[in-house]
Symmetry: D2
Subunit: 362 residues, 4 copies
Amino acid sequence: MSSIFGDRIKMTIFGESHGPAIGLVIDGLPAGVELNLDTINLEMARRAPGRSELSTARKEKDTYIIESGMFSGKTTGMPLCALIPNEDQHSKDYSILKNVMRPGHADYSGWIKYKGFNDYRGGGTFSGRLTAPLVFMGAVAKQILAARDIFIGAQITSVGGVEGTDFNPLGETAEVLLGLAKKNLPVLCSAYADAMISAIMAAKKGKDSVGGTVECMAIGVPAGLGEPYFDSVESRLAHVLFSVPAVKGVEFGKGFGFSTMLGSQANDAMYMSENTVKTKTNNNGGILGGITNGMPLLFKVGIKPTPSIALTQNTVDVSKGCNTTLEINGRHDPCIVQRAVPVIEAVTTWTILDLLLAANRS
Amino acid sequence: MSSIFGDRIKMTIFGESHGPAIGLVIDGLPAGVELNLDTINLEMARRAPGRSELSTARKEKDTYIIESGMFSGKTTGMPLCALIPNEDQHSKDYSILKNVMRPGHADYSGWIKYKGFNDYRGGGTFSGRLTAPLVFMGAVAKQILAARDIFIGAQITSVGGVEGTDFNPLGETAEVLLGLAKKNLPVLCSAYADAMISAIMAAKKGKDSVGGTVECMAIGVPAGLGEPYFDSVESRLAHVLFSVPAVKGVEFGKGFGFSTMLGSQANDAMYMSENTVKTKTNNNGGILGGITNGMPLLFKVGIKPTPSIALTQNTVDVSKGCNTTLEINGRHDPCIVQRAVPVIEAVTTWTILDLLLAANRS
Amino acid sequence: MSSIFGDRIKMTIFGESHGPAIGLVIDGLPAGVELNLDTINLEMARRAPGRSELSTARKEKDTYIIESGMFSGKTTGMPLCALIPNEDQHSKDYSILKNVMRPGHADYSGWIKYKGFNDYRGGGTFSGRLTAPLVFMGAVAKQILAARDIFIGAQITSVGGVEGTDFNPLGETAEVLLGLAKKNLPVLCSAYADAMISAIMAAKKGKDSVGGTVECMAIGVPAGLGEPYFDSVESRLAHVLFSVPAVKGVEFGKGFGFSTMLGSQANDAMYMSENTVKTKTNNNGGILGGITNGMPLLFKVGIKPTPSIALTQNTVDVSKGCNTTLEINGRHDPCIVQRAVPVIEAVTTWTILDLLLAANRS
Amino acid sequence: MSSIFGDRIKMTIFGESHGPAIGLVIDGLPAGVELNLDTINLEMARRAPGRSELSTARKEKDTYIIESGMFSGKTTGMPLCALIPNEDQHSKDYSILKNVMRPGHADYSGWIKYKGFNDYRGGGTFSGRLTAPLVFMGAVAKQILAARDIFIGAQITSVGGVEGTDFNPLGETAEVLLGLAKKNLPVLCSAYADAMISAIMAAKKGKDSVGGTVECMAIGVPAGLGEPYFDSVESRLAHVLFSVPAVKGVEFGKGFGFSTMLGSQANDAMYMSENTVKTKTNNNGGILGGITNGMPLLFKVGIKPTPSIALTQNTVDVSKGCNTTLEINGRHDPCIVQRAVPVIEAVTTWTILDLLLAANRS
């Protein structure tokens, strides 16, 4: 189904960009987990709009109300519902878009699917706003995983054609991974940040937008998570990553780079290190046969440029069945890559927690 | 779960490389579909080993027995079980591999997960042999989709560093897509095939292996399939594609190429064509907001080199907890990219059929 | 999972009796359904407490806020979330029950399962209050089914030992089924209502409670819904019926009565009636082989007496690990059978709608 | 879906009564479980036909081939497929039944659903033969549960109107529960067996059939299994019990008997017994709020008379759309209650194992 996913930790998301509220229900949380709401607030703030000139001017504090599943500061083991009211809506911005389809958006495919009954204001359910519940889920999962010494972090490796540096595939420290969240732009080597920001601002000035690439790493993940075939770690992660709007590519370890390698280069040689099996390289991104091998989990995600641009575009008016042009003059992100970073961390964290809870078979 | 996937068409796969048989159960087929077994045989033969010098010398006819779900040549609407007996097994080839882990394979991650109880012969369930049931499923689904004028085809766009040409993203004909299956090496422009074959043979001679890239297209897919978020077409396709052994990257449309594009270049401009909405480019690979838009479905898959190589490799012996070296002297594929092509078509076909059956909501 | 169920119409419920709110998310509704909120309000009122001397004095209007999934008065096809705030809470009534387990309730089994972290106030998630979201779901489904001439109604056939009359198994009219909702006590033959009310009032006076039996019928259900084995109509209905608190028995058609019948009495003889196949009796309650046969759907549900009674009971204090006694002096229902009637109708309606949407396989 | 069920232990069943084979695939078994095949054979024999004058003369040894999931006598943790070939088929017995619908069977509902394409020979997939895979699953699960001191047994409490005695709701010994399987007719107090056999033989002589009631108990089940609402133990058990052909009623503990009890009689008073919480009665059958409370699990199942009888019956011919009569002269069971006993034990065992594996949430 569209809005429910997960195995041991099932999440249901709901809401439209300009409806009363968006939110989520989490089913399957262990009972007795003390949740630090400040940590959740910090994660929500990372994704929230209106925080810098790099993102949309729409201001949403993304405050939430926990409606169920918490009692005396701890999880009850029952479904946890968090409601995130919509606040700064400019619904009149969108009224003319009922019939004029925005290129690069879900307007036309959604109009066909929902026969014109879907809420077209701000993209409705297709809006990137629906990633706020994902971040909430991730912030809860991060707290559970941190207590087990599992840490997740993501960074921008390219934006608008400006490339940064990659993570060391053999592992980064928890400090490095967690430190990325505190940077203005989450880039491993800050030296590249200014050029990236310039690329974004140039696109903004040109009424255009840019895409980019995000790299994500998880350290401390035990060997043995996931299963062959349809519950492979790659399958499960790719499923939720491709549920994040604007994600169009996912590759694990060397990914598409494998296509030019020989098997003797691609295979990660193994060795014993203090009674633990390790690999000398990590081309496979910590996953073999769909199962984690104890090396850091590592993958990259390709993100397309924000479809909403102020330049004039050719499109159609479905009410009239004719061609027309469109200029989108709302409040839009010239780049969503930096806001996608906490979302990618969030769905990764959720997936690892889910696989961890499923791993106990006896 | 590991071995079951799908929504309206649920498939269960089972079997080990050196057990009595592998197979599948398909739940959810419409009743009354006349199945052409010759068509299924042809698809099975495309994937089967031992058919040319490019693949392993293991000979498996991949003949199957339909145990249920067919009556008088037609589907009954009940679960269809097909059993594929294992025939040409050289189990003694593998006995020394119980404790010595093959790099690049699932040996170590599986040994941890299954506590040493999994069938290590030929990779057991992790074997690429388990893709035969996937091809069977695809061959059934292809017949149902062909009757609705939906056609799927895949080709190799690169192997061992040798690149071919891409599909025209605005669409290829059914003849072109179906014709690929008849080629010695499924490459759109045959001019590139010889260089690719040379690269594979060079790797074979060097006791090594090569990886590559496969591109897949589906034409005739109606607009409106899939749903936002967790049932996005990208999520569903990536899930099954990453369940195919050796797949390490998936990108839709321009995929990672979006990261260097501007929004004005990336957005697919829309226009009316004979009362149908079309796009002038197809950078999004026929999917917007997770839902098909009526343009050809288009994506690429990155495949790593066969991990089984005859060169000496560094690895560990888990029974002794010490380092060791390994030479794999069985019958192996110097390249599995060409055998992956029908598998990628198969899981794509299955997914499209499943989304099609789920699309009717009223 | 605990809180999510359904196939084409998946419902997620959440909330605790004394938390901020309870609610539900419905995934899979067709787009463009005009929802009559008055109809939903009427159904909610049927279940709501504090409406007569037969039920608890807790007053809850069970008003709801639709947070998503509706736009311009119609469903969008996206997840519909309805929030039902908790209003009339007397939480101090419950504080002494943290460690003293109420017999007949989930207190002890829940305390074990959730390690003492579950919200014990008013039963927390185990509270019958969580049936309000079920009634909401049913009220939505009833509107969709009514447009297809499918009608559902339930009545009390026994309460506190006082028996009424059964439905005519060959069918009641829509008027009769819908008219039950308007009665003070939903009993087919009103003549039995007074004796039933007396039995309930006698139990109330005696600080005790009574149970009963509810019979439910659906007319207009087409033949061919459901599937053999795990999606049998009996399996699906029993699953949700046993999810309703206090339900301890479910039987279809003659149910346990079959155990004293001969096959020649039990089999429903078939005949043609105006080009339609009908049966002369309906002992099977409209279901054969797990699939509807076009006759009215008919089943009975056994409901236990309200566990909360004011009489002194023997129980344990889990904090001290010793025996103790308990008198429950809150606001409780002397009988919940009449409040269970709309809940049973609701889960039945939801299930029929779900099976109907799943029936289209081609 | 029709043929797949379970959470941690998912089972897929397939096959038709007169196809090549029936079988099952079990997904989710722990690795390293040593399976005693003799135990499985014994369970299969309990259900197999042709073993006494009480059941059909069709002879099926119900031997099976394990196609996958076992290696060196132990489970691998991978999907276990067992194939049960069909042997003693008299397909010509059934050819005239293509269009003449047998009353009490799924013939008509299945004909509608599958548009006439389902295998009508011997009921096809609707055949009770499909319960053989369920018994196989149960025989595997029993071995795993026995190692944890959890034992399941079932007995006939009534057949053809002849009543036996009930289990002691506070518990029977493992010896008593396991000993039932060795009896000619599984009845707690053998004194009642002769009268029951006479009732069955009288029905057989009269070309008729009888139904009955089965009671099932599980001891050693820990408190805390199951979850509120849709994963209540009652919901999960009822789901699979109603998937067993001919089951038309399920009640837990006092079940429908609750309807004439007062709350003060129905509530199970609690007390401490050697540091364990117990109840003085077990009216709730070991389940409160959908969760096990550590008392014996106890429920009853109502089974209808075998629909296949040799007496002349009124029915319809769907090819002609007219009334007709039918005499069923095959090999049929005058009573299936005794053969249902191992099936009911099997699905109960599977469900308990599944809930047990799901219970670990941290």
